[in-house]
Subunit: 342 residues, 2 copies
């Protein structure tokens, strides 16, 4: 299978523009946290109140540092691309530096950027635009091992859990790739598939292309999206699950969440065993051997004693490793995977 | 909710070009069979070996008959739009007749057609192109009743079953709409949503837009797509299921099919109770009251005695009406729906 996916060239310059707080530079923080070795520096505009703690580079310094891609690492209000951002990005493009972004307004819709990129031979990479040539999923068994994060909801820490598990594998010397399926994940990984942006008929095919055949002892750690029980996004979640053919799934959950995100008061978060039942039934369509390998819980809403009790209670109930990926880490889940997936 | 969907203007001229056999004019036959009152005539090119049994109209006669839309009712090899088809279509467009098609090559990619349509004030309608402005699904409960066809596989008679059930309702004087989700269905209905062509994030939202709030005693009979257990298309099926919020589902099946279409020898058709279990579990996310209302079986592969035995066996096993929608009709399933959905 020919790999069709977005790929970014390192090293990166993280462009955080003029955002008023750290929160709006979340994507930039994610890249700097997970891939510091790929980040040459940051670029800020006057008035910026975020700081990624990276060297400050202007256009000339970035070019001198051999930057491959300037990544727009901020969320703008309404997903626009303000005119004040364009001149520095265009100057970089004119010097051959790729520009990558995930704003709602496309880079390719800014004529100045398009002209600059053409002049410099640079690429404008909209990470929300899926690559061309994705095929319909086939369900053929692929070699290598795969673990997919699944969720009781959106935004419960699936990306963080996958990145933490991938790091755990790499630190142990195990061959592994983090497979990104959303825009921030793609920017962190430098490659991936914006799975929620592909045409509906091709969801599972896109997931198949993202984790191709690999060595038998290689792990793909796949970022999940949405939830099979979320009425807005479940189609994406199911196509991703089928196409990923996971050998194991890790259930991600937020201990402080009572209702599905965006549907508060209408759709309660389902019980964990109900959430996992439908995941495993569906996963076994394309991988009959798929197992449940643990629970990764965002316990930011709990104090330390509550967290310990909460995780111990879950572990007792399900007989599986139950962790907070930030406070505790993915060690136990990695152990479980290595022991139970052959 | 503002309705965003494709809509065709009747009466129709069915363009079946120069196809070599009746099979390649399947879409045209479907429209002529289900909506004869909307069909003014057919147009054929030299060498055509299909015949829909409709009056033969040339461009002048079609215009004189007040045709609203010329529908390309054939499948061409490779989904192309051959150059020989363009002159008559352009002549009609120039006279203000809309042109509708579902070929892989878009009508809008033919400059001659685009110019003719602009001149005549006609629309070029690619029924595989979703309408603009589809929103993310919300899962809010809508008024009116809904029944969705679901399948053990693709191409098992979901469209036919929905059309036959809709006809049954209409004949009884029950308020009902057939809601089309695929290109042939859209051409038959004159409106609908090409659900497999929307961007993945919007599948359930597109399904919500297709069957908006309605009178409490009104039925939407919704054409299904794919199967939750088909590794190629399940994401589409799940988003459609969630967004449709069906009060009931009818399971469609082909008695002669052992393996999933296109995946022969790899993926067997699942047992019917396994197929329905996951459908009902998923359906109840957005409509906890959803019931299973019967089985609609394509028994074309069986002789009459075998068919009777097969359907009686299923009915005994599941305690539900089990019919062949062609040989027997949807009467029993309509009765069951009216009795069990309040």
């Amino acid at each position: 299978m020919t790999m069709k996916k977005i790929e970014l060239r390192a090293p990166y310059l993280l462009f955080i523009a003029d955002v008023g707080d750290q929160g709006h530079a979340k994507t930039g923080h994610g890249i700097a946290f997970w891939r510091p070795q790929l980040c040459a520096g940051q670029m800020r505009l006057p008035g910026c109140r975020a700081d990624l703690g990276l060297p400050e580079l202007d256009v000339a310094a970035a070019i001198a540092a051999g930057v491959g891609t300037v990544i727009i690492g901020v969320a703008s209000t309404g997903g626009i691309l303000p005119d004040t951002w364009v001149p520095p990005l265009a100057a970089l493009a004119r010097a051959g530096v790729d520009v990558a972004g995930g704003t709602h307004v496309k880079l390719a819709d800014k004529p100045v950027l398009v002209a600059a990129a053409r002049e410099g031979g640079a690429r404008l990479i909209d990470v929300r635009v899926p690559p061309q040539g994705i095929q319909v999923g086939r369900g053929n068994k692929r070699s290598g091992k795969r673990v997919l994060m699944v969720g009781t909801d959106c935004a419960v820490g699936k990306k963080y859990s996958a990145l933490a598990l991938h790091r755990e594998f790499v630190q142990r010397g195990i061959k592994a790739d983090f497979r990104a399926t959303g825009q921030t994940g793609i920017m962190i990984a430098g490659e991936g598939m914006p799975i929620d942006a592909v045409v509906a008929d091709f969801i599972s095919g896109a997931a198949e292309a993202l984790s191709p055949d690999n060595d038998n002892d290689h792990w793909d750690v796949i970022e999940g999206q949405g939830s099979l029980l979320h009425p807005s996004y479940a189609g994406v979640s199911l196509g991703l699950l089928h196409g990923s053919q996971p050998d194991a799934v890790v259930l991600c959950h937020d201990a402080g969440r009572d209702d599905l995100l965006g549907l508060e008061g209408i759709f309660p978060i389902p019980p964990l065993d109900e959430a996992i039942d439908i995941v495993l039934t569906s996963a076994r369509v394309t991988n009959p051997a798929c197992i449940w390998a643990g629970i990764s819980v965002n316990t930011a809403s709990l104090d330390e004693q509550q967290r310990r009790d909460y995780l111990a209670d879950l572990a007792g109930k399900y007989g599986l490793p139950c962790v907070d990926p930030v406070a505790i880490g993915m060690t136990d889940i990695a152990d479980y995977l290595l022991e139970h997936v052959q």
